[in-house]
C-alpha cells in the first residue's frame, strides 16, 4: 500500500466513492442476513468484516486521500462498518437463540426411564411411631425417660408392688438371667423406668418412656417374645384419675385424630390403684352404629383395647422414696406394636421383627 500522496486524485480511488461503499455495505448486509447458522455467520464475518474484507481494505486507503477528502470518506466507511457490525451482532444473537432452541429439542430424553440407582432407605415404623408418640408428650412439657433392658428383679417387680408371691408375677412370663439368684430379668414392661425415674428425679415428674420389653411368649402372628410399650408417669401434687383421662384423651386425639377419645374399665395392676383398662374409640368407624357392625378395625365393638392405666399405688411411691402424703400420680402403658398393627393394618406381628426391607420401606420415613 502506498503512503499519503498529496497528488492523489480522489476520482481515481474508486473503493472509497459513495457508490462503491454502499455496494460493499449492501453486499455484507445481504450475506449476514443469508447466514443460516453460527458457522456460516463466522465465515461471513471474516469475509465482510475481517481484516481482509473489502471494506477493511478500503478503510486503509483513507489515509492516502487528500486531507479534505479524508473526512468524507472516513465518515462514509465508518458508517458502513458500523451498520455491518451491528447486523453481525444482531444476527449472532438470533442464531444463538435458534441454536440453543435446536439443542434443547435435540437433547430431549425419556424422563420415564427408571431411576433406581440407589437403594431406598427407611427407618422402622416402630421407631418412628415411638418418636411420634414421644413428641406428643414432649410438646406438653414432658420428658423422655429411659432404662436398661436387662433390669434388676427388684425394679421390675418388687418396687412395683409385685412381691415375690404376688399372683400377678406369674401373669408375666419372665425371662430370667442365669443364675436366677443374680436377680436379673429382661424387663417385662417399661414400668421399671417409672421406678428409676422416681428414684432419680424430684417431683413434679412428667415422663414418657417408649421402649422394648420381653416376655416368654411363643412367636406367632399375634405374639412376640420382644415387643414395645410406651409408658407414661406423672407425679405431682393433686393429681387424680381425671388428669389421667385428660392425658389419654389428648394422646388418642393426637395420634388418631380429632374426636377420638378413650374410656376406662376397672381392672387390676399391682402398681396402680385404682386401675383401669383403656379402650380407644375406634378411629375408623368412630364407634357410631350401625356402621360399626362391619368395622374390621374394632370388629364391630366400636372400641379398641389399648392399654392399662391407673393411679400410682402409694406402695410404689413409698418404695421409690416419694412422699405419698404429698404427691399422687398416674401411670399408663400401651403396646406400640399393637398400636402400629391396628393403626396401619399390620396383619402379622412377625413382619415387624423379620426385617424384610419391603415392610419398613412401605412406611416412609416418618409416621
Amino acid at each position: 500500500m502506498s503512503g499519503p500522496n498529496s497528488e492523489y486524485d480522489p476520482v481515481q480511488v474508486t473503493p472509497l466513492d459513495e457508490e462503491h461503499v454502499n455496494a460493499m455495505r449492501e453486499e455484507a448486509l445481504a450475506a449476514i442476513a443469508a447466514a443460516t447458522d453460527l458457522e456460516a455467520l463466522k465465515r461471513v464475518r471474516a469475509e465482510h468484516a475481517g481484516d481482509r474484507s473489502p471494506i477493511a481494505l478500503a478503510n486503509r486507503e483513507i489515509g492516502a486521500l487528500p486531507p479534505q477528502a479524508r473526512k468524507d470518506a472516513g465518515q462514509r466507511v465508518g458508517q458502513a462498518r458500523g451498520l455491518i457490525n451491528q447486523a453481525l451482532a444482531q444476527r449472532q444473537a438470533e442464531l444463538e437463540i435458534e441454536a440453543e432452541a435446536r439443542m434443547l429439542v435435540e437433547e430431549t430424553v425419556d424422563v420415564t426411564l427408571p431411576w433406581d440407582r440407589a437403594t431406598q432407605g427407611a427407618r422402622h415404623p416402630i421407631t418412628t411411631l415411638s418418636e411420634r408418640i414421644a413428641d406428643v408428650f414432649v410438646a406438653m412439657g414432658w420428658e423422655v425417660a429411659e432404662g436398661p433392658l436387662v433390669e434388676a428383679e427388684w425394679l421390675n417387680f418388687d418396687a412395683l408392688n409385685l412381691g415375690p408371691d404376688h399372683p400377678a408375677r406369674t401373669m408375666q412370663d419372665t425371662f430370667w438371667a442365669d443364675p436366677p439368684e443374680d436377680h436379673l430379668v429382661l424387663r417385662t414392661h417399661t414400668s421399671p423406668v417409672q421406678a428409676r425415674t422416681m428414684l432419680t428425679r424430684e417431683p413434679p415428674i412428667y415422663v414418657v418412656c417408649p421402649g422394648r420389653v420381653f416376655r416368654t411368649d411363643e412367636y406367632d402372628a399375634t405374639h412376640s417374645p420382644m415387643f414395645h410399650q410406651v409408658e407414661g408417669l406423672v407425679i405431682d401434687e393433686g393429681i387424680s384419675m381425671a388428669h389421667l383421662k385428660g392425658t389419654l384423651d389428648h394422646f388418642a386425639e393426637s395420634i388418631f385424630g380429632p374426636g377420638i377419645d378413650t374410656r376406662f374399665r376397672p381392672s387390676y395392676f399391682p402398681f396402680t390403684e385404682p386401675s383401669a383398662e383403656v379402650d380407644l374409640r375406634c378411629f375408623v368407624c368412630r364407634g357410631l352404629s350401625p356402621a360399626v357392625d362391619d368395622c374390621r378395625t374394632c370388629k364391630g365393638e366400636g372400641w379398641i383395647e389399648w392399654g392399662g392405666c391407673g393411679v400410682v399405688n402409694p406402695r410404689v411411691l413409698t418404695a421409690c422414696g416419694v412422699d405419698s402424703d404429698r404427691y399422687t400420680g398416674f401411670a399408663f402403658g400401651m403396646g406400640i406394636d399393637r398400636t402400629l398393627m391396628f393403626r396401619h393394618g399390620v396383619a402379622d406381628m412377625r413382619d415387624m421383627f423379620e426385617g424384610d426391607v419391603r415392610f419398613s420401606t412401605a412406611f416412609g420415613s416418618e409416621l
Binding site: W115, R117, A118, T119, G121, A122, H124, I126, T127, E131, A134, V138, G141, W142, E143, V144, E146, P148, V150, E151, A152, E153, A159, D165, A168, F175, W176, A177, D182, H183, L199, P204, R212, T216, Y219, P225, M226, D236, M241, A242, K245, G246, D249, F264, P266, S267, E273, P274, V311, N313, P314, T318, A319, C320, G321, E354, G355, D356, S360, S365
Partner: protein, 827 residues
C-alpha cells in the same frame, strides 16, 4: 370363670327383663370383665316334649344293627293326640319310660332339622333324644330317660331340663378372687342392679364337737382353719343329679362321679375348695404340718414329688396323704368303692399356696382360688353343704361329729379421709356416696368427722389399703364419670441431646439408603463361632438366660451382627439382592458374679443399696450396626453398577460421625468377623468406637449372606457421648484458592492416611486441605511401591498467595514426605 345366668339369678333378685348382654356389660363396668357369652340350647327349637314309650318292637336289620320301632304318647303335642311312630337305634330305655321327643319341625343343635321320613320300612315322625343330641352332656351315649315324676306326655321340656341357658365367661383379675364363685358373681350382679342378694354361704351349721375325726394343726399360720365332716353309708355308684351335672358342664367342668362332682359344685357355688378323702383309708388323726427334708408324695395326678420344707402337707399315721390346699395324694383318694367320705374344708395361707403351686408346677381350680385368697369364715358352711349334698344324692348319712380346728382371723379395718375417693378420682363423689358404696361391697362403715373406718368383709382379702377402698367406691360410681382434665406439666427441656441425635443418626442412615431392622437379642455360642470370635474374645462373655425360648439361643447378644446377618440372609432368601440394613439396639455385657439385691419396699433404697443394684446390671451400651450386600449403585440403563464394598461402610461410618459433629480416624485392623486385610478400626480421638470393612468369606458362608458383604458395628453410646453439640462457627478466608497436585511413590503398605497427614503437616498453616484423588500401582511405580496423588489447596486468611508462597509450601510438604516415608515425587 363361667357363670350360668340361671345360677346367678338364684342368688341375686335380678329383674326378669334384664338381658344377659346388659348384665355382662354392667359386671364388666364393675370390674368383672366379659370374656365371652355362650347361649347353650338357644339353637334348639321345638316342638320338644315329654313322651311316654307305649310300644317298642326290636327289628334286626341286614347290616347287623337292631332298631326299635316305637310308638310314643306325646299327648296333644302332635295335634292329633294319636301315638307317634318313631324309629330309634338306642336300647337303654323300656316301655313305660318317659323320654324326650322332638317332633317334625323341631331343630336340634348343629342346625339338625327334624322331619318325618321313611327309614327302615317305617315312617319315623320325630326322634327320641339322647343327652348329647340335646347338648346336655358330652359322653352319654344312650337315650335320656326322665324320672317317672318329670311330667305328663306332651309337656314342654325346655324349662324342665333347663335346656336353654346363658353363660357369661369372665376374666377375673387376681384381686377379685371372690368372683371365682357364683356367690361372688351374684353378689356383684345384685350390686349392679341394686337388688337383694341371698348369700348361699349363709346357712345354719351344727356346732363343733369332739366326736368328729381328730385333726391336729401344727402350723396354724399355714392353715388357720381346718373343718372335717364325715358322710357314711354313701353309695359310690349313685349318679350325679342332672341339674348338678348340667351346671358343672355349663361352668366348664366335666361330671366325674357324685362325690367329686359335689366338691366341685360347692367350690363353684361358694368359692371354697373342698377335699374329699376315702375315710376308710385314713389311719389315725389328720395332721397338718410343713414337709420335712427329703419327704415325697405321689399326688392324685400320679406324679411322685420331692417336697420342700415350705410345702404344707396333710398326714395321717401312714404318712403324708396330701399337699394341703393344692392336691391330694393317691393313698386316700376317693374311688368307686368309697362309702365313707371325709370332707376337708380348710383355709390355707395364700402365699404358701402360691409358692407350692409354682414349685411343683401345679395349677388347679382349687389352687387358683387358694393362692388368690378365699373367705376364711365359710369353711364350716362349705363342709356342711357338701355333707348335705352327698347325703341327699348318695343316700348316706352325715355323721354327728363336727371337727373345727382354729378360727378365722378378725376382719381388717381401714381408715381413710372421707374425701379420698373424690380427690384420687377427680370425680364429684359426696361423702354419702362413699359410705353407701362401701357398704354395698360389704364393708361395715363407721364415719367420723373427716374420716371413715371401714371393716372389710372377709371375702375381700384384697382390700388392704386406703386406695383399695377408693377403687371400690369409684367402680360403683362408674369410671365413665371420670372427667377429662389435661394436667399442665412444668415446662420441660425437650429431648436430651443424645435422644435427639439418635434420631438424627437414624435419619442419616435412612437417607443413605439403609433400612432399619429390629432383631431379637437372642443368640447362641454357635453364632459366636460363625462370627469366628476367638476363645478369649470379650464378645463371648454373654449374659445367659435361665429360661430361653430356644436352647439354641440362650444368650443375650454382645454384638448386633448375628441378628443383622440373619436378616440379610432372610431378605436374600426372599429374593432381595442389593441390601443396605441397619440396626441401633443395646447389647449386653454382663458383670458375672454380681447379684442384684432384693431391696426392701417399705422405704426408699439407700444410696449404697441403689449403687449396688445398678452395679450388678450388665453394661448395655447402644450399638449401631449396618451392612451392605450386592450393589451400592445398581446397574441400569445408565451403565454399570458398583458393588458395595469395605470402603462404603467406612464412608457410612464417617457420615454417621459427621452427623454427630465428629471426625473418625481410620486405622487398619484385623478383627473377627472381618476380612483380615479389609478391616478398619474407627476411632474418635484415641477412643476406639468400632470396626468396619468387608466380612471374612468364612463368615459370609456361615451366615449364608452374599460374598463380600460389608458390615460395621459402632459403639453408638460412646459416639453420642462424644458428639459435638455446640460446634464453634468456622472462620474462613474469601481470598482466592491456590491449587497444587502432588503425586508420590511410596511403599505399598504405607497407609494413605499417614501420608496425607504428613503432607498436611509439611505444607504448614497455609494448606487448607489435602485430598487423595488417585491410587496407582504398576510397572512405573516399581515392585512393592504405589503412587498416591493428592490435590492440595492453599489459602491465606488475609491476602492472595503469591505463586512463590504456594510453591514453597508444596515443596515443604513433599520434603517432609520424602524424609519421613522415603516418598519419591512422580512427575
Amino acid at each position: 370363670m363361667k357363670a350360668p345366668v340361671s345360677w346367678i339369678r338364684e342368688y341375686a333378685d335380678l329383674p326378669v327383663d334384664v338381658s344377659t348382654e346388659d348384665l355382662a356389660a354392667r359386671l364388666t363396668a364393675l370390674g368383672l370383665k366379659l370374656e365371652a357369652l355362650e347361649r347353650p340350647g338357644h339353637d334348639i327349637t321345638g316342638p320338644l316334649v315329654i313322651g311316654r314309650v307305649l310300644t317298642m318292637e326290636p327289628e334286626p336289620q341286614k347290616n347287623g344293627k337292631t332298631i326299635n320301632w316305637c310308638t310314643v304318647d306325646v299327648g296333644d303335642a302332635n295335634g292329633t293326640g294319636e301315638p307317634q311312630g318313631i324309629v330309634c337305634g338306642a336300647h337303654n330305655f323300656a316301655v313305660g319310660d318317659l323320654v324326650v321327643v322332638v317332633l317334625p319341625g323341631g331343630v336340634l343343635p348343629g342346625n339338625f332339622e327334624i322331619s318325618a321320613r321313611k327309614t327302615y320300612g317305617h315312617l319315623s315322625a320325630g326322634m327320641i333324644c339322647s343327652t348329647k343330641e340335646l347338648g346336655l352332656g358330652e359322653d352319654h351315649a344312650g337315650i335320656l330317660v326322665l324320672p317317672a315324676d318329670a311330667g305328663e306326655p306332651g309337656d314342654d321340656v325346655f324349662d324342665l331340663l333347663d335346656l336353654r341357658d346363658e353363660v357369661i365367661e369372665f376374666e377375673i383379675n387376681p384381686d377379685r378372687a371372690y368372683a371365682l364363685s357364683l356367690r361372688g358373681v351374684a353378689r356383684e350382679a345384685a350390686l349392679a342392679y341394686d337388688v337383694a342378694f341371698h348369700d348361699p354361704a349363709e346357712r345354719k351349721t351344727p356346732a363343733p364337737n369332739d366326736e368328729g375325726h381328730p385333726v391336729v394343726v401344727d402350723d396354724p399360720e399355714g392353715c388357720p382353719v381346718f373343718v372335717a365332716r364325715t358322710v357314711s353309708g354313701f353309695d359310690p355308684t349313685a349318679p350325679t343329679p342332672d341339674w348338678m351335672a348340667r351346671r358343672l358342664l355349663l361352668s366348664g367342668q366335666r361330671s366325674i362321679s357324685l362325690a367329686v362332682d359335689v366338691t366341685n359344685y360347692v367350690m363353684l357355688e361358694l368359692g371354697r375348695p373342698i377335699h374329699g378323702y376315702d375315710a376308710d383309708k385314713l389311719s389315725g388323726p389328720i395332721r397338718v404340718r410343713r414337709a420335712a427334708e427329703g419327704e415325697r408324695l405321689t399326688t392324685l395326678d400320679g406324679t411322685d414329688r420331692a417336697l420342700s420344707t415350705e410345702d404344707l402337707v396333710v398326714t395321717d399315721d401312714s404318712g403324708i396323704i396330701g399337699l394341703g390346699g393344692v392336691m391330694g395324694g393317691e393313698k386316700t383318694e376317693m374311688s368307686e368303692t368309697t362309702t365313707r367320705v371325709l370332707i376337708e374344708a380348710a383355709h390355707w395361707d395364700a402365699a404358701s399356696m402360691f409358692r407350692t403351686g409354682r414349685r411343683h408346677r401345679l395349677t388347679s381350680e382349687a389352687g387358683k382360688r387358694n393362692e388368690r385368697g378365699v373367705d376364711p369364715t365359710i369353711c364350716e358352711a362349705a363342709a356342711d353343704r357338701v355333707a348335705e349334698l352327698l347325703a341327699e344324692h348318695g343316700g348316706g348319712t352325715v355323721d354327728p361329729g363336727v371337727t373345727v380346728v382354729g378360727q378365722a382371723p378378725t376382719p381388717r379395718t381401714i381408715t381413710i379421709p372421707i374425701d379420698l375417693p373424690a380427690r384420687v378420682t377427680g370425680m364429684n363423689i359426696a361423702s354419702d356416696t362413699t359410705i353407701t358404696n362401701l357398704r354395698a361391697v360389704g364393708c361395715e362403715v363407721d364415719p367420723a368427722a373427716d374420716t371413715l373406718t371401714a371393716t372389710v368383709p372377709m371375702w375381700r382379702p384384697d382390700l388392704h389399703d386406703p386406695f383399695d377402698l377408693v377403687e371400690e367406691v369409684a367402680r360403683i360410681v362408674g369410671y365413665e364419670d371420670v372427667p377429662s382434665v389435661l394436667p399442665s406439666a412444668p415446662s420441660g427441656r425437650g429431648l436430651t441431646p443424645a435422644q435427639a441425635m439418635r434420631r438424627r443418626v437414624g435419619r442419616t442412615l435412612a437417607g443413605e439408603g439403609y433400612v432399619e431392622v429390629l432383631s431379637f437379642p437372642f443368640v447362641g455360642e454357635a453364632d459366636f463361632d460363625r462370627l469366628g470370635l476367638e476363645a478369649g474374645d470379650t464378645r463371648r462373655t454373654a449374659l445367659r438366660l435361665a429360661n430361653p425360648l430356644s436352647t439354641e439361643e440362650p444368650l443375650m447378644t454382645t454384638t448386633l451382627l448375628p441378628g443383622l446377618l440373619r436378616t440379610v440372609a432372610r431378605n436374600v432368601s426372599r429374593g432381595a439382592a442389593d441390601l443396605a440394613l441397619f440396626e441401633a439396639s443395646p447389647v449386653t455385657f454382663p458383670h458375672p458374679g454380681e447379684a442384684a439385691p432384693i431391696l426392701p419396699v417399705d422405704r426408699r433404697p439407700t444410696d449404697d443399696e441403689w449403687t449396688a443394684l445398678n452395679r450388678a446390671l450388665p453394661d448395655q451400651p447402644l450399638h449401631l450396626a449396618f451392612s451392605l450386600s450386592g450393589d451400592r449403585d445398581r446397574a441400569g440403563w445408565w451403565g454399570n453398577g458398583r458393588p458395595a464394598g469395605w470402603s462404603d461402610v467406612i464412608e457410612t461410618a464417617r457420615r454417621v460421625a459427621a452427623t454427630l459433629g465428629l471426625e473418625l480416624t481410620v486405622r487398619s485392623a484385623s478383627v473377627a468377623p472381618w476380612h483380615p486385610g479389609r478391616c478398619a478400626e474407627l476411632l474418635v480421638g484415641e477412643t476406639s468406637v468400632g470396626h468396619a470393612g468387608e466380612l471374612h468369606p468364612t463368615v459370609c458362608r456361615a451366615f449364608g449372606v452374599p460374598a463380600r458383604t460389608s458390615v460395621a458395628e459402632l459403639d453408638l453410646e460412646t459416639l453420642l457421648q462424644r458428639a459435638e453439640t455446640t460446634p464453634t462457627a468456622p472462620a474462613f478466608s474469601t481470598y482466592p484458592v491456590a491449587k497444587e497436585d502432588v503425586a508420590l511413590v511410596v511403599a505399598e503398605d504405607l497407609p494413605a492416611e499417614a501420608l496425607a497427614a504428613t503432607l498436611r503437616e509439611g505444607a504448614g498453616p497455609l494448606c487448607e486441605s489435602v485430598r487423595l484423588f488417585d491410587v496407582y500401582t504398576g510397572a512405573q511405580t516399581g515392585e512393592g511401591r504405589k503412587s498416591l496423588a493428592f490435590a492440595l489447596r492453599f489459602r491465606a486468611p488475609d491476602r492472595t498467595l503469591t505463586e512463590k508462597e504456594t510453591a514453597t509450601a508444596r515443596a515443604a510438604a513433599v520434603a517432609l514426605a520424602e524424609q519421613r516415608h522415603g516418598a519419591q515425587q512422580r512427575s
